[in-house]
């Protein structure tokens, strides 16, 4: 039997020649979409030309099912399960609107069939999503690796990979139980991108959320926004969208995961977006002091232990110029909002069974205080796409 490590190791041994770039252009009314010579667009792209259709209809259909099943698991069965948790907590003498400690919630839930069957459903939804994506992309792994290889040295924009980078252990986990995580699967960028679209229940999303987010990224009071950095940038959807908002700015994104950056660079190049992606650590970015007007971090900090978060915040302060803005978009911490019993249970599931390894530590931290301790001036009423859901904070570096 071949395990995932063997599979990825074998796939990674494949290399291919780099051919000429930008052989053809693909028409798109919305964006400047290019095709690389090794581009795999068997079934074309979705309507705006920003996202390639999955390579086989069956793969796409399975993902559609997964999205529907996840939706049902969360909004139908999940609501029934949440009501059950809150009933059990109330019967045990607690106020379900403000969760007791998670150990107490788990004690009163006990072996309840409604709750655990629901948990089985949403866990399996994650598993079949990843299985389908890994199976589908690996059916043509040589083609995808060749596509990445061809894109690595293409432009516009740059890609800096660091083969000798010492990768911190905290980043090595298979977050969201994605096989290989963000660093271990050379096709992880593909797998992540289509998987996260299922997570957000928008299967053919063409960077819509990130474009909306880019539109509310705050700029410094003096209006100067010439250099921008997104830390923990993943597949670089946010810096791509920020480049569209600020086409003359020097746009950077850094991440520890080479598979994510390679995929992000390929997509940026296809869309003619001149952004710079680099495999660097957020806690040791290598940029000069006072060198960015705006730094963002989208859903990064709940994937980071508190001690490392402190290092990252210190680094952010160092590289921001005086008056520069830091915009960390993430979930609310428990100091910002106390969850209901069912909400607390679902966050515990996310931590243990969706392998969000550091999210409990993040939610238990006082992130606003951590930013203040790092020497940043915090604003708690920052722009947000959904105040009830996101942390809605930003900070500036004092002059």
């Amino acid at each position: 039997m071949i395990d995932r490590r063997t599979l990825f190791g074998a796939a990674a041994a494949v290399t291919s020649a780099v051919a000429s770039l930008f052989a053809s252009r693909q028409a798109s009314a919305a964006v400047r979409t290019k095709s690389l010579s090794n581009d795999i667009e068997v079934r074309g792209t979705y309507s705006e030309g920003r996202l390639e259709r999955l390579p086989e209809m069956d793969m796409e259909s399975r993902l559609e099912f997964t999205q529907g099943f996840r939706n049902w698991s969360l909004r139908n069965f999940g609501r029934k399960s949440s009501r059950r948790i809150n009933e059990l907590v109330k019967e045990a003498g607690f106020d379900p609107k403000v969760s007791p400690p998670i150990d107490d919630v788990l004690d009163v839930v006990g072996d309840d069939l409604t709750v655990w069957t629901s948990v089985r459903c949403k866990t399996t939804a994650q598993q079949i999503m990843w299985n389908n994506l890994v199976d589908g992309f690996y059916a043509n792994k040589d083609g995808y690796l060749a596509e990445l290889e061809a894109a690595d040295n293409s432009g516009p924009g740059t890609l800096e990979l660091n083969a000798s980078l010492s990768i911190p252990d905290y980043t090595k986990h298979e977050i969201h139980i994605q096989p290989g995580g963000y660093i271990g699967d050379p096709l992880g960028g593909y797998v992540y991108h289509y998987g996260v679209n299922v997570f957000t229940l928008d299967l053919s999303s063409e960077d819509v959320f990130h474009r909306d987010l880019a539109a509310i990224v705050p700029v410094p009071e003096d209006g100067k926004m010439e250099r921008f950095l997104d830390i923990g940038t993943g597949v670089a959807q946010l810096p791509m969208a920020v480049k569209e908002r600020f086409p003359d700015a020097d746009i950077w994104g850094i991440d520890v995961g080479a598979p994510m950056l390679r995929y992000g660079h390929m997509r940026a190049a296809e869309q003619g977006l001149d952004i710079n992606l680099a495999q660097r650590l957020a806690e040791n970015s290598g940029f000069e002091d006072n060198s960015f007007d705006v730094v963002t971090a989208y859903i990064l900090f709940h994937e980071v232990p508190t001690e490392d978060a402190k290092k990252i915040l210190s680094e952010v302060r160092r590289i921001l110029r005086p008056g520069g803005v830091f915009f960390p978009v993430d979930f609310k911490t428990y100091t910002q909002v106390r969850p209901s019993a069912s909400g607390r249970f679902n966050q515990w599931w996310d931590h243990v069974y969706n392998n969000e390894v550091w999210t409990e530590e993040y939610r238990d931290s006082d992130f606003i205080q951590l930013m203040t301790d790092a020497g940043l001036v915090v604003t708690e009423d920052a722009p947000t796409l959904q105040k009830r859901f996101w942390n809605s904070v930003m900070a500036t570096k004092p002059a």
Binding site: R5, F8, G9, A12, A13, T15, V42, G44, E56, M57, D58, S61, R62, E64, F65, T66, G68, F69, N71, W72, N76, F77, R84, E87, G110, D111, D112, L113, T114, W116, T117, V119, R120, C121, T123, T124, A125, Q127, I128, N131, L148, L161, A163, L165, I167, D169, K172, E174, I177, G180, I183, G184, D185, P186, G188, A258, P259, V352, Y353, N355
Partner: protein, 108 residues
């Protein structure tokens, strides 16, 4: 290549798998059967969708090929109708899983 190395040849590094086994129903076999049943739903829907596309192509053209099926782009109306068909299928088939007596506890 050495496992764990972040090499240019692979652009990948070592990773850490989840540490907690996902057994929720006190019986790994039962958990596995449930996952299999759910996974079969995704395979069924792939066949159903293929059938939908083939029927549409036959009505429109009188013939169908694998290439035509793969390249087919549903209209907005079709996409909405098929999404509704999918959700009805999920409710119809998996709604049974909600029929748990709140007072019954699993054995163990």
């Amino acid at each position: 290549m050495t496992e764990g190395a972040n090499t240019k040849a692979t652009h990948r590094g070592d990773f850490i798998p989840p540490q907690t086994e996902d057994v929720f129903l006190n019986n790994a076999a039962l958990d596995n059967v449930m996952s299999t049943v759910i996974a079969l739903g995704s395979e069924f829907w792939a066949l159903q969708k293929r059938m939908n596309v083939m029927e549409t192509l036959l009505e429109e053209n009188g013939s169908v090929s694998k290439e035509m099926v793969e390249a087919y782009r549903p209209t907005e109306e079709q996409a909405a109708a098929w999404e509704e068909q999918r959700d009805r299928f999920i409710n119809r088939v998996y709604g049974f899983l909600q029929n748990t007596d709140p007072d019954s506890k699993r054995a163990g």
